[in-house]
Symmetry: C2
Subunit: 344 residues, 2 copies
């Protein structure tokens, strides 16, 4: 067969504020690949079907010198994230042609991967592949693993969940309700508030029209805080925390796209309220919790017990649009790029 185009979505420029499609990132079709003859060197040729867009990607769009828990993206190279692909050919005994695999892929249509670093998805639950990068993938694991590790959930406790309509927040909400907690949750639009109500949030509110501090003053104090936001929300959570409250620090998106830093003025209350504040990166919790996540939680998703919403964009060239949607909160549901059709 003749070579085909191998579209890639590249990191082009370090953003100072929001990442702009076509500037921060660009779509490129200059490369081709011969799917039949490209050497595999012991690996597997994977056709990318779906790839996830998550808030943390913004953190990899930084100067090469700036240290963090992950590597910065390289200018001129494809972005990367969790995705699901179809194995077209394999030199490895770990996977075979026709397998669907979950892994950390480049934003490109075809990639030769180390087959020992992907997970073959049996998908007995019959979920759409997009779910495996959302509620049944890294974001679902983020919610599940950290809730189990840090929440110390007790029936009758009150939890405040930020970005409660997002895939992580909505999963946390449902875990908290299952554990018998009163759930306060915020999101940035009225339809998201309606969705939060539909999944059992006791006190859903739109943080753009209602002050977080006022809601927490009335409905708190809170025993658990799930933070995706940071800044003013973090400050309000400290202010209305109960003694000994657990803070699960998943992200602080309010600070990702601005050089201004919100001044948190009540850090002393970490001492006086005896708070326990836990930052975490989900990859470090995966060895401990992935087995039960796949053996038990994914089944609950398959049986329809866990509600989730998706925001699908079709075409790898739309990755930048998805990234901006997620950074600005315009997406309603888990943002996933549908890259290719599920056929060889």
């Amino acid at each position: 067969m003749a070579p085909v185009k191998n579209g890639r979505y590249l990191f082009n420029e370090i953003p100072s504020g929001y990442p702009i499609p076509g500037q921060t990132t660009v779509y490129d079709e200059s490369e081709t690949i011969d799917l039949d003859t490209v050497p595999l060197n012991g690996g597997a040729l994977v056709k990318l079907l779906v790839v996830s867009i998550d808030p943390y990607l913004r953190g990899r769009m930084r100067r090469a010198e700036a240290k963090s828990y992950n590597e910065p993206f390289k200018i001129g190279e494809p972005l990367m994230n969790w995705g699901v692909g179809l194995v077209l050919r394999s030199d490895s005994s770990s996977v075979k042609a026709g397998d669907h695999v979950y892994g950390y892929f480049k934003f490109q249509q075809y990639e030769i991967v180390d087959a020992t670093r992907v997970l073959v998805l049996e998908n007995k639950e019959g979920l759409p592949w997009s779910a495996y990068v959302g509620v049944a993938g890294m974001p679902g694991q983020t919610a599940y693993h950290a809730w189990k590790e840090f929440a110390e959930a007790k029936k009758g406790d009150t939890v405040f969940v930020t970005t409660g309509a997002g895939v992580v927040g909505a999963t946390v909400v449902q875990l908290a309700k299952a554990d018998g907690l009163k759930v306060i949750a915020s999101a940035g639009s009225d339809d998201k508030v309606e969705f939060m109500k539909s999944i059992g949030v006791d006190v859903p509110f739109n943080y753009k029209t209602t002050k977080t501090a006022e809601v927490l003053e009335k409905e708190g104090p809170i025993n658990v805080y799930w933070d995706n936001v940071g800044g003013e929300s973090f400050e309000a959570a400290i202010e209305y925390a109960a003694k000994g409250a657990r803070f699960i620090e998943c992200g602080m998106i309010s600070g990702y796209n601005t050089s201004e830093v919100y001044q948190v003025k009540n850090l002393m209350k970490i001492v006086t309220k005896q708070l326990h504040i836990h930052g975490f990166i989900v990859t470090d919790l995966m060895p401990k919790y992935n087995p039960e996540f796949y053996s038990s939680f994914v089944g609950r998703i398959g049986r329809g017990e866990i509600a989730y919403k998706e925001h699908l964009l079709v075409g790898l060239e739309r990755a930048g649009e998805g990234i901006l949607d997620v950074q600005s909160g315009r997406n309603f549901g888990k943002c996933v790029i549908v890259v290719g059709e599920d056929k060889a």
Copy 2:
């Protein structure tokens, strides 16, 4: 016997900055007491021998409406804190005349107390009574209990201890060295740096002449942070924390006497470095750790294995001077007011 004066040290006015002796607090000798005939109503008459001056007292000098973990002092009433007294008379079976008792006392020479709320000190170790409000009392418990609860100390770890020459900090230093850690510690004068060196601190420094961030950049990253200071020091500790570091938040004295709040700019690194930040109030840890503290740690003090320094001021009328010394860091060693002689 004729009534005698019963000197009291009173809270007089809410301070806006540092508490000023004679203004924030005043000494009063207007009351008298007849030690032989005053009715005990089931309690015990205690002569106060020593009373502790601690940083947290500043937090009780606040408006009556401002909530915290403890009660605000009342204007016109004596201050209160941990002390040691001599029982002169007792109506209770819990204590008898001649007993030495540890408890939370009013700043006044003679007080009738609920005998069930004091601890009889046997003092087999022969320590000075002042030690029982310092290294062998609440401040020592602060260090011991929180270190055991939160440090997760591992040989080879590095800890940074602020106010490392103070009774809490110096006790933490010695616990950390016993656990095999490398210890970085800060204090505010060169003689305090010398003292820190003498108790085993590997990297002692004067934070007034050397930047904390520069020391931590060179000697870190740190696995444990003992915070008595907050603000800029807290920020530097975050910046140079190792992945998964434990922060023990004992106090943030840098903010106690100012309305200006230092802006901590790197809170997002709580997430990316997977930090665990624990606020605590020692009284809540006492039920769990006091038994082993008294049965084992106080013995180590008695055998001279734990070094400590005291800053003794003789006379209850000097309490305000001691309070200001502690808030401004002028004391070198545990500040204790010697109120009365150890005789009936």
